[in-house]
């Protein structure tokens, strides 16, 4: 599944770059994240709950690793989520463009999905994926102010 989009932060590029590496802010970027900790080796681990409307669809164990860091322009997130409804694995390439007081984030996420969430969840994935990423980023934007 491919998610390609953009988001305009009302914060400087440096601020966004730094912010996206803090566990609190990263957790906000992925709505439903109940817990996200930065481990000693630089990886993040936590738990995420995916809901669709009032129904809790799945609980996932999440791990995130940031690689190819080019301050303050770009980095790649290697994401892994595993739960009883399946798994999500992939990478999100993130590019930050300087817009003065603002920063344009261009992201491209390529996710492999497996298990039940893949075999019966297709119609949810597209819309949920997009909604989640937009919602999350709005929340991050607030936090960065």
């Amino acid at each position: 599944m491919l998610i390609e989009s953009e988001f305009l932060f009302s914060a400087s590029r440096e601020r966004v770059y730094e912010g996206l590496q803090s566990p609190e802010i990263l957790a906000k970027a992925l709505p439903g994240t109940e817990r996200l900790e930065l481990l000693e080796d630089g990886r993040y681990e936590g738990e995420m709950v995916v809901s669709v409307g009032p129904v809790t669809a799945a609980r996932f164990q999440v791990s995130v690793e940031l690689v190819d860091l080019v301050e303050p322009e770009s980095f790649t997130m290697i994401v892994g989520g595993k739960g009883k409804l399946g798994f999500v694995e992939g990478r999100a390439d993130i590019r930050l463009e300087d817009r003065g007081d603002e920063c344009l984030m261009i992201y491209r996420a390529d996710l492999g999905i497996g298990g039940r969430v893949a075999s019966v969840g297709q119609r949810l994935l597209d819309s949920v994926g997009k909604a989640m990423s937009q919602r999350g980023l709005k929340a991050v934007n607030k936090m960065l102010q």
């Binding site: 999905i113 497996g114 298990g115 893949a118 075999s119 297709q122």
Partner: protein, 782 residues
């Protein structure tokens, strides 16, 4: 065997079905209806990954869950864990390389397709078992999956079975004559690539097993939605170390089979009986629909590069075909499907030169075994499409090019010099193809369509096309079946046979075959099938063989009982054999109707409490007979269709659908037509609505009826049927099989009719299935 008098026959009667009452009132027993005291319920934890090393499973939380009785992974099975048997070894084909890798009860070391079973949970209810399944932790190190047929043999493809040096499961070449020499001088050579994709059998009833171990009596009873109870019984006995007589397998009413229910031995079939013996409690597993998309076998993915060489009149000089066939993660069914494709491609035509080569490949998708048609549709698709392309190039009418190439009626038996799936040479026993073509042309109004209807439709701006296709189908293969016929003391007749039944009407068609010679009606005959305790020699229902093989055995047994009836009656009535007639449930002396005795009374007489049974005879009015044909018999048919396409929405409307079918002697026309209707519907599904969609991770994306589209009542047209009959010389009744026929040529017909309706706007249709989406893209671009 001598027979006297006129032997009655109910062959050809559309007798209403004996089995209907129970089915209509909800009184028929299906496997999930089996309820035993203390029964436990099973759920499986299945792989989310298509390919990977299974490192570790953590069962502790699941085991501790309230209501869970036991949790098993591969190591818990000890010595019982073993890969399943190879069901169909390769036929004795000269150029054949074959590697076998069969499915395992629970994954050990590796997982090879999404949905492969890893852990079995036994609990007080299915709900609790699934709760516990969520608590099992499975650690898999993923490997790159082989997600496509072509990808299986690509450089660097991950090896699915590491004991082999590639993912090639088999490489087979069969040939006849010399294609290259024949094609060298050909007026036209047409070469194309054809692709067909996966579909599910999707019977309305999912699979299920109930196993009960009676410790005191030492008997294992298994209810199983199988098409082959006897081989399952034999295999389970062997695996569990029990004598065959202590294992009983019952296939009760089955809600549709269509092929995958004859796959043996599914992991669940192997595990449930074992668990019942371990736990000393009955256990039940019922597959749910989502599970079925992974846990039940599938079929139909092949890629053909084929070439047809014809002369200037469109006569076939030869065919060359090189194809890839996907067997999924394991290949328990050997080469059955690709050989069916290989052989069925020849069709009803004279093909003097043939080169056919295939590679069977493993992929990380669910295992492939035959689904209604079992590879025949691929051969038909390739040949019929090539003929259509040749017809177009040469400017010959599409019906005419077929007619020119038909084997003439005096060409039988016709030996094609290659081997068929039943290990015998591909010999067509009988057939007469032109009359079927003529009848179909007449019924569909072929000439009238071209001259009048098409111009009229075009004037209205409607896109309407017509198509006609022709095919043969090898049916009725051996090895054998048996039947035992008994006249009861109440006058009712009972026939017991080993084949299972999944809706084909055996309770009625077999009754007809037995009732005729015994002078009773079909409703007077009780048919018992699918219970190894009642009859335990035979194989099963598959490859359109039930009526041919089991039917002939039933008839033979009835004839043997008829002899006994006459002998017993002759003694009882003090008359001669030749003077006796059997009718209306009793035997009477011809022209002296008051000298009569009922069959029931005769049955009592034949089993005396005093007196003696003469040496060399048997008590009762009962006989068992077996029938094993030398090789399969060749059914054939022609399908024609008028199809309208809405160019704006890419939706279809089938205006006419005609089937002219030759299945030899027809026992019950109503049942035969029903089988054809169902087959055509299945074929329509495979042509336009049904497709199992896998992504690059070999993950199935549409494992539900929301997204895997079965044709509904608004998608299947009214089907007009007619029959041509060339009785088979290979069995006494002249019967040929018909169960799969409806499904076989439909894709080829769809492609032809769509091209006819849309012309150059859609180009050449060389892939199946299409779909509303794909057709829309073809018409409107992306």
């Amino acid at each position: 065997m001598t027979t006297t008098g006129t032997i009655g026959s109910l062959i050809g009667e559309s007798a209403p079905r004996n089995e209907d009452h129970r089915l209509l009132t909800g009184d028929a027993l299906f496997v999930d209806d089996v309820h035993l005291d203390g029964m436990l319920h099973v759920a499986f934890v299945r792989s989310d990954y298509a390919h990977g090393y299974l490192r570790h499973v953590d069962l502790s939380e699941a085991r501790a869950h309230l209501g869970v009785i036991a949790v098993y992974a591969a190591d818990d099975l000890g010595d019982y864990w073993a890969p399943g048997p190879l069901l169909v070894p390769p036929p004795p084909i000269e150029r054949c390389e074959f590697r076998s890798a069969t499915q395992v009860p629970l994954a050990k070391d590796k997982v090879r397709h999404v949905g492969e079973a890893i852990v079995m949970i036994v609990a007080e209810s299915r709900y609790v078992a699934e709760d516990a399944a969520a608590l099992v932790e499975v650690h898999i190190d993923p490997l790159p999956p082989v997600a496509t047929t072509e990808g299986a043999l690509a450089d660097g493809a991950a090896r699915i079975h590491e004991q082999f040096d590639s993912n090639e499961a088999a490489h087979v070449v069969q040939e006849k004559g010399d294609y290259e020499a024949a094609a060298a001088g050909a007026a036209h050579r047409i070469r194309r690539r054809f692709k067909m994709d996966r579909g599910a059998s999707a019977p309305m009833e999912n699979r299920g097993i109930v196993a009960n171990w009676d410790e005191q009596g030492g008997e294992l009873t298994v209810w199983d939605t199988t098409q082959a109870p006897i081989p399952i019984r034999n295999g389970l006995a062997r695996m569990l170390g029990l004598p065959e007589r202590q294992v009983r397998v019952i296939a009760p009413f089955i809600g549709g089979g269509f092929g995958p229910k004859i796959m043996m031995f599914y992991p669940e079939e192997v595990l449930l009986p074992w668990a019942a013996m371990q736990l000393k409690r009955p256990v039940k597993w019922i597959e749910d629909r989502q599970e079925s998309f992974f846990a039940t076998t599938q079929e139909r993915e092949q890629i053909h590069d084929a070439e047809l060489a014809v002369d200037a009149e469109g006569r076939i000089l030869g065919v060359s075909d090189s194809f890839l066939c996907d067997t999924g993660a394991y290949n328990p069914y050997g080469l059955t499907i690709p050989i069916n494709s290989q052989c069925t491609l020849l069709g009803p035509y004279a093909v003097p030169n043939y080169w056919s080569e295939f590679r069977l490949v493993f992929t990380n998708k669910p295992t492939v075994t035959p689904v209604r048609g079992a590879g025949r549709q691929h051969g038909v698709f390739v040949m019929e499409r090539l003929l259509d392309l040749a017809a177009s190039e040469l400017g010959i009418d599409r019906a005419e090019i077929r007619r020119r190439n038909y084997l003439p009626p005096d060409a039988f038996p016709h030996d094609h010099e290659i081997l068929y799936q039943d290990f015998a040479p591909l010999v067509y026993d009988s057939g007469n193809y032109e009359p079927a073509l003529d009848k179909a042309l007449e019924m569909i109004g072929w000439d009238q369509f071209k001259s009048e209807l098409r111009p009229a439709y075009e004037a209205e701006g409607r896109s309407v096309g017509i198509g006609i296709v022709s095919y043969v189908e090898g049916t009725g293969v051996g090895p054998y079946e048996g039947a035992r016929v008994t006249i009861q003391t109440d006058g009712r007749v009972c026939v017991t046979t080993g084949v299972g039944t999944q809706g084909q009407g055996h309770f009625t068609s077999f009754a007809q075959l037995v009732a005729g010679p015994l002078g009773v009606t079909a409703a007077d005959v009780d048919v018992i099938t699918g219970d190894t305790a009642k009859f335990n020699w035979g194989t099963g229902t598959f490859a359109s063989r039930g009526a041919v093989v089991a039917g002939n055995a039933c008839h033979a047994a009835a004839l043997a009982v008829r002899e006994k009836v006459l002998m017993t009656a002759a003694a009882a009535l003090g008359a001669d054999h030749e003077e006796l007639e059997i009718a209306d449930g009793s035997v009477h002396v011809r022209d002296a109707p008051d000298r009569a005795i009922s069959l029931g009374d005769l049955a009592s007489l034949a089993n005396p409490l005093r007196g003696a049974v003469k040496p060399g005879t048997e008590p009762g009015l009962e006989a068992t007979a077996y029938f094993g044909p030398e090789h399969g018999t060749t059914a054939s048919g022609v399908h024609a269709m008028v199809l309208e396409v809405d160019r704006e929405t890419a939706t279809l409307n089938i205006l006419r659908y005609v089937v002219v079918h030759d299945c030899g002697t027809v026992i019950n026309p109503m049942i035969v037509e029903g089988q054809i209707h169902g087959g055509v519907a299945h074929g329509i599904g495979n042509s336009f609505y049904e497709q199992l969609v896998f992504d690059e991770g070999a993950q199935l994306m549409n494992a539900s009826f929301m997204d895997y589209l079965l044709p509904t009542a608004t998608d299947v047209p009214h089907i007009e049927t007619a029959h041509v009959t060339t009785p088979s010389p290979l069995n006494p009744l002249g019967i040929k099989g018909v169960g799969e026929a409806g499904a076989i040529p439909v894709a080829a017909l769809f492609a032809q009719a769509l091209e006819d309706a849309l012309g150059s706007d859609v180009g050449e249709i060389l892939e199946m299935p299409l779909s509303p989406n794909l057709l829309f893209k073809l018409l409107h671009g992306d």
